[in-house]
């Protein structure tokens, strides 16, 4: 703990703080531009980090990762084009808010939720890394399978208007996730002879196409209407539209708490990613709300839930890295490489052999959260003005950046083709009202579910009786069943109420 004081002195008097700030700024900008995102920023700044000392290098990379989590909310709210797939739920309520002239309110909430989620999650990392990581080891494939089944129940309510269409979208998502080499038999599935597809369809170009480019095209088809709408909005008529009222804070606080918790848990579990965290958080907050049907029209808690979760995932995904040396995410893997390139080995030994550097790192990470707050807040009014710019000037720029972002995924034009293919899919689903939320969830969760299911089969020696040895898994399976029953009862009750009111109206 006294190392923390040394850490503060080190970071604040050395060059590292500058690099952290540079990272947050860069990450924020990259996150705000639809198409570019943290994976791009982090991967591409690796060469820069070779010339820096370890703490500055890691501060830069972590700053980028955190900044982009906050920045991605900006384009989601202002343009309905999430800067990263993890901000897709933010757009669901953020964009309507912006269209109601409440852009600054939404932006502020996005920022505050991001910072709070990020800060708290970093604290968790610092205080609980070692014990949590040990517990995380208890989550094996069997437990993960149960947890994923349980998490699927959260998203039941996310299919928008039509349950059937939502399910169809989810099935398509799962179907597209099977493209690539199958993990047990190494049989290529649906690759049509393209080697570039043997690792599957990558989330980033697909999400960019479906969410960003498709949205831009839809907006392109409604230029006059949208510009007229923007012209009518006089941002600033009602000062309450620019800030967050006390009542809204009270409503959003539990959403933020929930989001931070969900985001932190999702981060520790290997391989799930920030998108899963933000979707689940949005779903959970919507389910817990007294007015779930209003979500999608401008509920500020939706923004809070999504943003707090997607930012909470980043620091907690570093827990397995710092505590055990196991990278739980792409960013963690890159960080390991950065560590090794500086001659350090991440893992439990790091705490013992390099306590001062670890303290420096923690302080750098906490400062990143604060810098993010300052930068984001300063930029609010500037960002909100983007709404005034005529769409016909914004759209071409966004299209270009989306291409760059898609290309950066594999340094191959093929990713741009994938982006374009899913642009068409996204356009159709938007117009025909098929939920892309359930599609993405199916796409992201299903393969992990399939994999953990196969792994569980092997680990349990094809004998379900062995499940008794995995109490945690049993708990989650039961929780899933209970949740489904509870939701079914609520739906039935709802329908009963509607039937009753209908009957009343008729009499």
């Amino acid at each position: 703990m006294d190392y923390l004081l040394i850490g503060i002195v080190d970071v604040f008097t050395g060059p590292s703080l500058l690099w952290v700030a540079a990272g947050v700024l860069l990450g924020y900008i990259l996150g705000a531009i639809p198409g570019l995102g943290k994976a791009t920023g982090v991967a591409v700044s690796i060469p820069l980090t070779f010339y820096l000392d370890p703490v500055s290098a890691l501060g830069l990379l972590i700053g980028i990762a955190k900044g982009s989590g906050a920045g991605s909310a900006v384009s989601a709210i202002l343009l309905n084009t999430p800067g990263e797939p993890s901000s897709a739920p933010t757009a669901l309520d953020g964009y309507p808010l912006a269209r109601q002239g409440k852009a600054q309110k939404a932006l502020k909430m996005g920022l505050f939720a991001s910072v709070i989620g990020d800060f708290l999650s970093t604290l968790v990392l610092i205080v609980l890394a070692a014990p949590l990581a040990r517990y995380a080891l208890l989550i094996g494939p069997v437990e993960l399978c149960a947890i994923l089944v349980f998490s699927l129940t959260f998203i039941g309510g996310l299919s928008g208007g039509s349950m059937i269409k939502g399910l169809i979208a989810a099935c398509f998502g799962i179907f597209f996730a099977t493209v690539g080499m199958e993990t047990e038999t190494f049989v290529p599935r649906l690759t049509f002879g393209f080697l570039q597809l043997s690792d599957g369809i990558s989330l980033v170009p697909m999400a960019i196409g479906m969410l960003a480019v498709a949205e831009m095209i839809v907006q392109a088809g409604n230029l006059r209407e949208l510009d007229a709408q923007a012209g009518r909005m006089k941002d600033g008529d009602d000062p309450d539209d620019r800030r967050i009222t006390g009542a809204e804070w009270r409503r959003s606080a539990p959403a933020i708490a929930r989001g931070t918790l969900i985001g932190s848990v999702v981060g520790i579990l290997p391989g799930l990613g920030a998108s899963v965290g933000s979707f689940l958080s949005y779903g959970a907050t919507r389910r817990a709300s007294k007015t779930p049907e209003k979500f999608g029209t401008g509920m500020i808690e939706g923004v809070a839930a999504a943003e707090s979760a997607d930012n909470a995932v980043v620091p907690s995904s570093l827990i397995p890295l710092f505590a055990l040396g196991i990278p739980g995410s792409v960013i963690a893997a890159i960080l390991i490489a950065a560590f090794i390139l500086h001659g350090l080995t991440p893992g439990p030994r790091m705490f013992v052999e390099q306590p001062r550097m670890v303290a420096d790192l923690y302080v750098a990470m906490l400062s990143a959260s604060l810098i993010m707050l300052a930068l984001g807040y300063a930029g609010q009014r500037v960002f909100a003005m983007i709404i005034r710019v005529p769409l016909r000037l914004i759209i071409p720029g966004v299209l270009l950046f989306c291409c760059v972002g898609a290309y950066m995924d594999t340094s191959n034009v093929f990713s741009i083709y994938i982006m374009l293919a899913f642009t068409v899919v996204g356009f159709l689903s938007r117009k025909l009202d098929f939920s892309f939320v359930t599609f993405l969830i199916g796409f992201v969760i299903a393969p992990k579910l399939e994999l953990s299911f196969r792994q569980s089969l092997q680990l349990l020696n094809h004998d379900w009786a062995n499940l008794a040895r995995h109490p945690i898994a049993i708990v989650f399976f039961l929780a899933a069943i209970v949740t489904v029953l509870a939701v079914a009862r609520k739906e039935a009750g709802h329908t009963a109420v509607t039937v009753d009111t209908e009957r009343e109206e008729r009499t």
């Binding site: 080891l137 690792d199 739980g328 020696n461």
Partner: protein
Amino acid sequence: MTTRRNLIAAAAGLVLGASGLLPGAAAAQDYPTRPITMLVGYGAGGQTDLIARASAKVLADQLGQPINVVNKPGAGGAVAANELRNMAPDGYTMLFQSNAVVNAAPFLMDRVDFTPDDFEYAGMITAYQTGMAAPKDAPYDDLPGFIAWAKENPGFAYAALSAEARMYMDRISEKEGLQANAVPVQSGAEMVNTLIAKQVAVAFSGGIHYRYPDEIKTIAPTTTFRHPSAPDVPTIEEAGFPLAMDTRTVIMLPKGTPQDILERISTALKAAETDPEFIKVTEAADIPIMYYDAAAAKQEMHDTYAKNKAILTGSD
């Protein structure tokens, strides 16, 4: 008449030469004159990417031109190798990859059909310490010990990251009458996770398990040599299974790249053996430096291609 024709011919020659359409001799002498691109067939942050970047630094210092590392992940490097085939053989694009993309992948993956003659080789620098790994407190320390344990415990689980892993376990199980459950994993980190959490009895690792010496031990290297990080553990060949396949990092160039360019790169690469920065990186990552020059690399590729073909397609 002849003078004018000669003049025109000379002028044409000058123009051609100046626009660089005449390949080879003139260019190779002052190679490199502009930045070089090094492709890596994996995403950023992996073992190979690490060594690639460290090597790029050494090469850039030696050759005097910056080297840009570009990640082109896909199909374990096959996508990048395919692209390399279409690049100009002028020495300005190279691929830093595990040699398995040429000497093992064709036998394991559909639609990958490289042969060693499809590329030129400028050298090899490190080897992967591939082998069977187990949790530290497992009741066996080497392959015979593991086999004995496995006979007592049928239905054990092992983590399989690749088709080679399954091939190894299948051969061993066939010969010794074992019953194994293959748990598929999709990344090195997942594989390590299963070992640290003691969910599996063994796993086949590409070398990164050495980063966790307190939790994981090697029980049988699948290389032809004993691992420098575990010199007391006998290899799979010593245990009676002639299945060892060496994997090394290799610098590949498009077919037709002039020999002297290959030599220049090869000589520059040799400096990595003694470069303190490079050594620092490989030691932190537990990756042994095993340098092969251009000629030796080419030989190794041809030898291992034939050998792996026998192993991987032998009894299938």
